[in-house]
């Protein structure tokens, strides 16, 4: 067991290195031409939930060949074959589907598989994301360009998104008070795992015009119960999946580390669907509007 434990820790380190190496590789290979039109965008494999959402919103879903497991919206994507987890794709499995284009988010991998696919001649595009409302718009434009979507659909989607972003910004102005947010990914027998900077969660907090109480820490990290009370967030956001070990949202609000915060006292604890909040597809803006409206109506 001891040995396994050490190996396990080694594995984590290794993943970090691989990911870092992978980002370098991406930066070196794809930056100049990432949004050019693909030669043959008719058989697409998508690795990343937000990209699937966008392709659907562009009404180009008949070009989709397969999706990964993080693609769960709209519900009918479940009918497509699954290529597995976005960070652990397999070369042969992918090639057996005969894709001409692979669209992936930045965490797509492993790098070796991407290299092999490139050698075979599959067009691989990694869509960049900095977790902001403008990057959702640029993702839409980029994908529309790559897959050659109809101009009218693209324009409609972009305008629709811009309108929603306006609604969100007006809501934030109406709210007119400085707020702090804690965003929790999950809570399973340990300390809550919360969003630090450089995460999608931090991006979502920024969308709401609020301050992340974990902004000094990078990545998703456990936060101690007493620090939560010390920082006393005004709002707590949590993924639905992360608190399914609790009977309901109220039971979560009564957890000893949550109960005495401003957020729980003022009933500002929201449990939201993980992908719709953190995926940074079109739904993310709707989710942010939902939260901001709840805050105004108080």
């Amino acid at each position: 067991m001891l040995g396994d434990f050490i190996l396990h820790l080694g594995g984590i380190q290794n993943m970090v290195f691989k990911k870092a190496a992978f980002f370098l590789l991406i930066a070196a290979n794809y930056l100049p031409s990432e949004c050019d039109k693909s030669k043959n965008p008719n058989k697409i494999v998508i690795a990343g939930g937000s990209l699937t959402e966008i392709v659907y919103d562009l009404k180009e879903e008949e070009k989709i060949l397969a999706v990964d497991v993080t693609s769960n919206f709209p519900p009918e994507v479940k009918d497509f074959p699954s290529v597995g987890y976005v960070r652990a794709l397999s070369t042969e499995g992918l090639l057996s589907l005969g894709p001409t284009l692979i669209l992936g988010e930045e965490d797509m991998g492993p790098p070796l598989v991407l290299d092999q696919l490139k050698i075979v001649g599959v067009d691989i595009r990694v869509i960049k994301d900095d977790f902001s409302s403008s990057s959702i718009l640029s993702k839409v434009e980029c994908i529309s360009e790559i897959i050659g979507a109809k101009k009218i659909n693209t324009k409609r989607l972009i305008n629709n998104l811009k309108e929603k972003i306006n609604v969100l910004e007006t809501n934030i102005k109406k709210n007119n008070r400085a707020m702090t947010i804690l965003l929790i990914l999950g809570l399973q027998g340990t300390s809550p795992i919360a969003a630090g900077h450089s995460t999608s969660g931090h991006g979502f907090i920024n969308l709401l015009g609020a301050k992340n109480i974990m902004e000094d820490v990078e990545g998703w990290k456990p936060i101690s119960s007493e620090s939560i009370l010390m920082k006393n967030p005004d709002i707590i956001l949590v993924t639905k999946r992360g608190i399914r070990s609790f009977k309901n949202d109220e039971a979560f609000s009564n957890h000893s580390s949550i109960k005495f915060t401003n957020a729980a006292q003022n009933k500002n604890v929201f449990s939201l669907d993980g992908m719709s909040m953190l995926g940074f597809g079109p739904r993310t803006i709707e989710t942010a509007i939902f939260v901001s409206e709840n805050l105004i109506n108080q």
Binding site: M1, T190, S257
Partner: protein, 345 residues
């Protein structure tokens, strides 16, 4: 009254120096306890503790969050320390560790099941906060039962046989955890990873009270076997001829270690090296007889774990360093030194 006093007979086997060390470790345990409950995101001064207003935030943090957490750390450390010491005695092997008999792997598998597959297969009412500890304890209990049957009531073929069974069970549990890791989603993977590195963040009174009662009574049950473990060091046949019921001793040590390790892993995740290193440190300080080693390991393990937890809370606040990393960071160099020294002999 006599029964109560005769419990402390084990103190008669301690030399003067060992008694001094033993009482010193008890005092150390309470000092670490007081320091740990005083420091953190909120700082408390000991003489303030009684004077806080009933509903102040300070009081809530202290009584609802800090004290349960420090108590859990102390008792988990004590469990791992004493079970490591008694298993090393039973297996007559200085590298034995509570993980060796497969119980912590079984508990880890149980916990991983809940983290990855969720509480879908539990009923809505009773298990919610209890789902994870309950499943982990079931995993540990399953391993104990398997061990019991494979070794025909711990009597069959001697101790090496039991070690091999433990290795096989460890391998099986690792496969299970591996499969769960493979099918887990992003957030579940994070939950699983942090859980295997250990944390006392889940402590609350309703969860730790049953655990503390179980741990205290099991430790009290273990300590009187100390003298028998001493005799066992002569070898199994010799101990048998000296009148030790080997099978009963094995049963007692294995069952009690399994119970407290199972409970500890269920509530705090996998915390490495404490069970291995603490008995060695205690031996280096005071000597090898188990009447001294078992209780002293409990107190020293508790002190070490409380200080590791204190560091985990304050090092990178508001975030937390997983406590298993700190104990391993302290334990691994000592472990290396141990291997290096044993090669020279």
């Amino acid at each position: 009254m006599n029964v109560f006093l005769s419990y402390f007979n084990f103190l008669n086997y301690l030399s003067k120096f060992q008694k001094f060390i033993f009482y010193f470790l008890i005092i150390l345990f309470f000092i670490f306890f007081l320091v740990s409950i005083s420091l953190g995101s909120f700082n408390f001064f000991l003489f303030d503790l009684l004077t806080y207003q009933p509903d102040s935030l300070n009081k809530i943090v202290l009584y609802e969050i800090r004290i349960p957490r420090v108590l859990l750390a102390g008792f988990v450390g004590a469990s791992l320390g004493i079970s490591g010491a008694s298993l090393q005695g039973l297996f007559r092997n200085p590298l034995a560790d509570p993980g060796l008999i497969g119980v912590s792997a079984g508990a880890a598998l149980g916990a991983a099941l809940v983290i990855v597959l969720g509480s879908n297969f539990f009923s809505e009412y009773f298990f919610n906060t209890f789902a994870l500890p309950f499943s982990a304890i079931s995993g540990a209990a399953l391993v104990i039962t398997l061990l019991y049957f494979f070794t025909r009531g711990f009597g069959y073929e001697g101790i090496t046989y039991m070690l091999l069974i433990g290795i096989a069970i460890n391998a099986l549990a690792s496969v299970g955890i591996g499969i769960l890791t493979f099918i887990s989603s992003d957030s579940e993977l994070r939950g699983l990873t942090f859980w295997t590195m250990g944390s006392f963040g889940g402590a609350s009174w309703q969860i730790i009270m049953p655990a503390l009662v179980i741990i205290i009574f099991t430790i009290l049950w273990m300590i009187p076997s100390a003298r028998k473990l001493d005799l066992l060091q002569l070898g199994e046949p010799e101990a048998y001829r000296l009148g030790i019921d080997i099978q009963k001793l094995k049963f007692k040590v294995i069952i009690s270690s399994a119970i407290i390790v199972g409970v500890s892993v269920a509530l705090s995740g996998m915390i490495g090296f404490v069970g291995l290193v603490v008995p060695h440190l205690v031996r280096l300080i005071g000597g090898v007889n188990h009447s001294y080693l078992l209780p002293a390991s409990a107190f020293f393990g508790g002190s070490l774990m409380m200080s590791a937890d204190l560091l985990s809370r304050i090092l990178i606040s508001p975030a937390e360093v997983p406590v298993g990393l700190l104990t391993s960071a302290l334990g691994a160099p000592f472990f290396l030194w141990l291997i290096f020294n044993s090669r020279k002999i």
